[in-house]
């Protein structure tokens, strides 16, 4: 079994009417199967309301499935005694950098997670230094989070998760509120953690450019997994993606348009270099 496994996962949000009586069930996840191997980089795509954030919250046991089962490192997220264990193994980074930083000093915030799981003081300091070094924020350790840029705050949030020594990091649209520079820094940090430390990464995003490095892409729509495969496989299906109101990376789109116009190009071109090479080899 992989590090994260879901079987026939379903989740209902209960929506209350104006008079509180008309409780209405809204199915946010429907029959989702998932199997993630340790050390993989997974990207989840989908437009608003596709259920991708709901799925992410299940991995961290913030939500408990209405039907089906979710296992994190072999632990069923339903078991209440193990819930802190699950949350330690699967750390989560959220969208808004301001609303997830608890400490008034950077290093205190990174130490918050280890404090909660009862790590001894000496060990907390070691972990905090280590985590801040890994995300490249050690120089800002004694600053107030309010003085940092959005991208820096997100890297502090990632350090906060890293300090808990998780097996897996789930990032729920971590770059949605950042400028291009901050976005690049955050994604690079995540990729480095994934490649060097072997931390499983699950990235939920709107930006197609962030997806092309993933080992596997999962596309969600209406609470279901509708497409799954390598980035190249997924982005070869441009028309299907467009039907789901999703974009493809600019380069891929250009190649696709060229192909439609009669230029003989391969499907699923992901990077500029690939396109240049393909175009040059035409003659």
């Amino acid at each position: 079994m992989g590090i994260i496994k879901a079987a026939k996962l379903a989740f209902d949000y209960i929506k209350y009417g104006d008079d509180d009586r008309e409780a209405e069930k809204v199915r946010a996840l429907d029959n989702v199967d998932l199997d993630v191997e340790k050390g993989q980089f997974i990207a989840i795509l989908g437009h608003n309301g596709s259920g991708k954030s709901t799925l992410a919250k299940h991995i961290n046991a913030l939500l408990i499935p209405s039907e089906g089962t979710m296992w994190v490192d072999g632990i069923d997220t339903k078991s209440e005694e193990e819930i802190w264990h699950v949350r330690q193994k699967a750390g989560m980074v959220f969208q808004n950098p301001d609303n997830q930083i608890i400490g008034t000093v950077v290093e205190e915030d990174v130490g918050f997670g280890p404090e909660n799981i009862g790590v001894p003081t000496q060990e907390i300091w070691r972990r905090v230094e280590d985590a801040l070094t890994r995300v490249g924020m050690i120089a800002h350790r004694s600053k107030s989070p309010n003085k940092l840029s959005g991208g820096q705050k997100q890297r502090v949030a990632i350090a906060g998760v890293v300090a808990m020594r998780p097996e897996c990091i789930i990032l729920d649209e971590p770059t949605a509120m950042l400028d291009p520079d901050g976005r690049r820094d955050v994604i690079e940090t995540v990729r480095e953690l994934n490649e060097k430390e072997g931390v499983t990464a699950i990235l939920i995003t709107h930006y197609m450019e962030e997806v092309i490095f993933a080992d596997r892409v999962i596309v969600m729509d209406g609470g279901r997994v509708v497409m799954q495969g390598t980035p190249r496989e997924i982005f070869s299906r441009v028309e299907e993606l467009k039907k789901l109101r999703l974009d493809v990376p600019q380069v891929t789109e250009l190649a696709w348009e060229l192909k439609k116009a009669g230029v003989p190009l391969a499907d699923g071109i992901l990077t500029r270099e690939e396109l240049v090479e393909a175009l040059c080899s035409l003659n």
Binding site: N60, L62, W84, R87, Q88, G91, M92, F94, N96, D98, N99, Q100, I101, I102, G103, T104, V105, E107, E108, G111, F112, G113, P114, E115, N116, I117, G118, V119, P120, T121, I124, W125, V128, P145, N146, G160, V161, M164
Partner: protein, 267 residues
């Protein structure tokens, strides 16, 4: 417009008072306040003055920062003095119209004023030399025994430190909303008191909505990082008494004993 507001009134410098454990400073301040209300005669007040001046010197905080705190109590100070001067019965000094000034009245008025001023200086000495974070940590440690009677000490101190973290964020947000509303023609500056208060409504409603949303997000982020109350929690920066803190406790005890002695002797 909100950029200049500093939180609390911490004055960052490097002095022996800054290095003391927050618990020591807190207990010291309380001891000082109680002592102020015990002492009666000029010798007692003289002693308290010497101690206070020494502490101010030790703190390396410019005196004008302490005077700032005084502005807030200026009105209360004047009112209490007036009441004491005119309404204390006793030996008549002079009188005009229906008001009589007595010797006892002047005495109590002066004593009250000195007490209030020293009280404010003493407590601002603590807040000037202690960061808000250290203060909440210190309070949590000092009030820890109250956990036995089910007072949520840890939770209260966590709430205080989160509030401290979010004040600048909410300030910035207020600024943003205000500018957005001004851009749409809202007027916060003119009109009488009531219409100004009314004009705050379009500012406060979005601010509250966003504060609740933030609270919700933060609670989720805290849960995701395994926060489950104070139980089984370790501390990254635990408070540990050093040698200087023990010496300080000794000095506080000595000061308090001397003040009690003066009080008994009526000096």
């Amino acid at each position: 417009m909100f950029k200049d507001i500093t939180l609390g009134q911490y004055y960052p410098t490097d002095s022996i008072l800054h290095k003391l454990d927050p618990r020591v400073k807190f207990i010291g301040t309380i001891a000082f306040i109680i002592a102020l209300f015990l002492i009666k005669g000029p010798v007692g007040y003289g002693f308290a003055t010497v101690v206070l001046v020494t502490l101010i010197r030790l703190s390396k905080v410019p005196f004008k920062f302490m005077v700032r705190g005084m502005k807030a109590i200026a009105v209360i100070l004047v009112i209490t003095m007036l009441f004491n001067i005119f309404l204390t019965p006793g030996e008549k000094l002079f009188s005009f119209w229906i008001l009589t000034v007595t010797r006892e009245g002047v005495e109590t008025a002066v004593k009250m004023a000195v007490r209030l001023i020293y009280l404010v200086i003493g407590s601002s000495l603590m807040t000037l030399t202690t960061t808000p974070n250290q203060l909440t940590d210190g309070m949590e440690a000092l009030f820890a025994p109250l956990k036995k009677v089910h007072v949520p000490v840890h939770e209260i101190s966590m709430m205080m430190s989160i509030a401290l973290r979010f004040i600048p964020i909410l300030m910035e947000e207020t600024d943003k909303i205000m500018k957005a509303q001004i851009a749409r023609g809202a007027d916060f500056e003119s009109g009488n008191f009531i219409s100004r208060i009314k004009s705050m409504v379009p500012l406060l409603v979005p601010l509250f909505v966003s504060a609740f949303r933030r609270a919700n997000d933060l609670a989720m982020a805290m849960e995701a990082r395994c926060y489950h109350g104070g139980e089984g929690r370790t501390q990254m920066k635990p408070l540990i008494y050093a040698g200087r803190d023990r010496i300080a406790y000794g000095l506080i005890l000595l000061f308090f004993a001397v003040c009690v002695a003066f009080a008994f002797l009526g000096l």
